[in-house]
């Protein structure tokens, strides 16, 4: 199936129906393996068992930025190429991204309390992720405010691209400013500083959450296409009566 075929919502739904069971299976296997590895991972010599929070905090922190990246690509698809599924993809990614950002914030807080002595500090990393969470909520509100999906899609695309400025700020905040949050320990020049015994469960959990995102996103896109069909049919019917 060529990429251009996916512009056809019916073909896209058919593809989702075929792919989704495999994705769900792969997600479940990845979570089972990742949670087992996280359970067996050794305690950190300084943090003790609290390091286990890392296996859910870090994947969610990565994904909250990745999902905004997906939405930014979709925003370009809406504004530049006017791809019929681009705004569907952007709209459906927003609630999932908001959930991942919420989890990154909450699990980070729960990790911070025993390690830093506080749930929250207004430093650059935490504040920029909070701003990302608020932007997700703003996008969801925007989609709900405008009835016409095409008009809402264009406005949301502009807001998404403006919000993308926050991504490098989040990523480099720990290098640019003085912060309680530790600097990057996986994606860094010179390779990861984590020991393999912790790196493997972290990578598997990140893969599991990424597969979960893809599965939820595709399923939500299928739902949104169906919702738009219902809307179009009801509008057409209303015009005829």
């Amino acid at each position: 199936m060529a990429l251009i075929d996916l512009a056809n919502p019916t073909r896209f739904i058919a593809l989702v129906e075929r792919v989704l069971p495999w994705l769900i299976g792969a997600t479940l296997i990845a979570f089972a393996f990742g949670l087992r590895e996280a359970y067996l991972a050794p305690d950190d010599y300084q943090q003790g068992a609290t390091v286990k929070i890392m296996f859910i905090h870090v994947p969610n922190a990565w994904l909250c930025m990745f999902v905004w990246g997906v939405m930014s690509a979709a925003a370009l698809g809406t504004l530049v190429w006017r791809h019929p599924l681009a705004d569907v993809a952007a709209k459906c990614a927003a609630p999932i991204g908001a959930a991942f950002t919420f989890l990154a914030l909450v699990t980070g807080s729960l990790w911070g309390r025993p390690m830093w002595g506080t749930y929250w500090v207004w430093d650059a990393r935490l504040t920029s992720v909070l701003v990302l969470f608020i932007m997700y909520l703003a996008l969801i509100a925007l989609w709900r405010t405008v009835d016409d999906p095409t008009r809402a899609g264009r406005a949301a695309a502009v807001l998404t691209l403006v919000g993308a400025v926050n991504l490098p700020i989040i990523k480099f905040s720990v290098d640019w400013w003085n912060t309680l949050h530790q600097p990057a320990s996986v994606f860094r020049v010179g390779g990861p500083t984590l020991d393999r015994s912790m790196l493997i469960p972290l990578v598997v959990m990140a893969l599991a959450f990424t597969l979960l995102f893809i599965a939820l996103h595709l399923a939500a896109m299928r739902n949104e296409i169906m919702r738009r069909r219902v809307r179009t049919l009801m509008l057409t019917q209303a015009e005829r009566t």
Binding site: A49, T50, H57, L103, T107, L216, L233
Partner: protein, 63 residues
């Protein structure tokens, strides 16, 4: 398994993650069922994608 003195923080973090993921899955499934119901309802009323004209079999004869 000994989670040490900070066990409640670890357990709470994993529980909240499980709750949020479960809520996302339920949201997607419930939405899918709702849209399927809505489309089936429209189909039953003769309002279909290819034509908004009711099918002949679905037009009620006047009494």
């Amino acid at each position: 398994m000994d989670l040490g003195p900070h066990g409640p923080f670890i357990i709470t973090a994993y529980l909240i993650a499980a709750l949020v993921v479960t809520a996302l899955v339920i949201w997607v499934i419930a939405d899918h069922l709702a849209q399927k119901r809505a489309l089936a309802d429209l189909e039953r009323r003769g309002i279909t994608r290819r034509s908004v004209e009711p099918r002949p079999s679905q037009i009620k004869e006047p009494a």
